[in-house]
Symmetry: C2
Amino acid sequence: MAEPNEALGEFALIDRIVERLGDAAARDILVPPGDDAAAWTTEAGVSVATVDVLVEGNHFRADTMSRGDLGWRAMAANVSDIAAMGATPEFAFIGLVLPPHEPLESIDRLVDGMAEACRAMGVRVGGGDIVRGDRLTISVTITGRTASSDALLRRDSARVGDRVAVSGHLGAAAAGLALIEAGRGGGDGAGAPLLLAHRRPMPRVALGRAAAEAGVRCGMDVSDGLLQDLGHIAERSNVGIEVQTSKIPLHPAAVAELGAQAALDLALGGGEDFELAMTAPSAILEAVGHTEPRLTSIGVVVEDHPGEAWALHDDGTRYVPAVSGWDQMRAGAS
Amino acid sequence: MAEPNEALGEFALIDRIVERLGDAAARDILVPPGDDAAAWTTEAGVSVATVDVLVEGNHFRADTMSRGDLGWRAMAANVSDIAAMGATPEFAFIGLVLPPHEPLESIDRLVDGMAEACRAMGVRVGGGDIVRGDRLTISVTITGRTASSDALLRRDSARVGDRVAVSGHLGAAAAGLALIEAGRGGGDGAGAPLLLAHRRPMPRVALGRAAAEAGVRCGMDVSDGLLQDLGHIAERSNVGIEVQTSKIPLHPAAVAELGAQAALDLALGGGEDFELAMTAPSAILEAVGHTEPRLTSIGVVVEDHPGEAWALHDDGTRYVPAVSGWDQMRAGAS
């Protein structure tokens, strides 16, 4: 009996595929598969590129997200991977699988959302492919550039003693989704900024670039959930990462609407905020601090428990959030 | 009642989307959306990129194509778009939608086929994304380079008086598929080269580069069917293209296995050969002629019927093939 692939999680399956590709995987490039984006040197600097796929029913649902917001988010998720390298996005290449009965008007809305995101994020569509299929599926590849190979934010360069910082508020996007699922997606109440964080997240391109220029060398975007994402840095850098729950920048509206406990859980495990997490000596992080959105120092890189990231209360007890992070291969309907 | 998108063909839908993107579409780059690949200048030369999406049941079927061959073809189709610009492919970014029950072993075969193609075509995988979905879907973006913006094969640069030439044999891949569908896919008979053309097509990277270097400025790959593909050149260049049926290079095995008439129909309308079609003054085409696979001169660029490509018998009568070319949005199951 053949073994179905669902037994493996996303990351195990990626490892298996990269292993199997052998020398067909570009392991010797500057930043090989496994970081937010691949990066390679050219005569003019460094090129970066990243791909993400969204499938209806798995990554988004028509009842919680409009087609316009979907178009925006498809671009935002990829631009965020470029921002997380400290690079500048340039061109998008879009592969679209369209069900035959998807109304033309809804495709128009989707394209409008993509166009609005492109304008807001300084990206332009360079090409695409449209094919027929059962489920709306959006594959976006974004290419970008940065001037120097020394100025990249990588996952494997956290050093013991570094401070850990994050931008903006965490858990806001997940709180927005929670409101929508609770039938409170109307939008003009106190939850409005949370709904906006979910529907129109803004990747931190300027901040990523400023961090790289200031000398930060380790960073990624918060897309799967803070602890899971910091776990990737811990694993690739072979360090431990300890964050303090009292320092996590919660969105005031999330605390007001859902309570402090739920807001913290969503901040640690909720994902899709597209804020940046980075580690560096404090002096360097302070030098980045003038760029919006502001950085908040939330923890420290340690020698203990290499490969792990965890959260501590002020009394020293470990806190395990109720939400555990996002695994593409195990999540959602299929 | 909302209008479903299926009323529009692939090209009409692309036009609508590019129109709607407005200034979010990169119209001012060297070669904007609508050619085989997008191309833009950098400080170090010209970057090119292209994306293609394959959906199970629509673009391939498990009963006519093994997972290994599928992996190869997914890469080949994209590399061919880069070759069709006269550029050199570099990195591939792969988005994979995997049904949960797709056996691990079949994913291994798929990856093996991709790796073999990468090695054969000089491409390396720079990154990817794997997600869950109902239908196996493969989205491949390939980036590449060329030294000079003057040396690109475009669709909009055919000139009246140019000769039209194609590489290799046309219709071989479609003839291979016809053999498989007739239950003759065993592989070691006279049809073997046709099966190979279908299962392991080899994009013409060296030829594309040689053509660009020799001064050819107009070309594309034969992927949807010769007449349809030449029609794109005719439309974008605002010229007519006339080819002679007697000059079309048919594969001897296709003629032997299926008869001359069917072989000609498949050559004119069958597609997926991934040979190159180009137009240029004869002296330039002759200068390319030493690169394998050899070019065959099949027609001429004329002023009449701008936007159209057609085939003539030697007696001057127009020939309309029984196979009409491939429209991604109208083809196949869904």
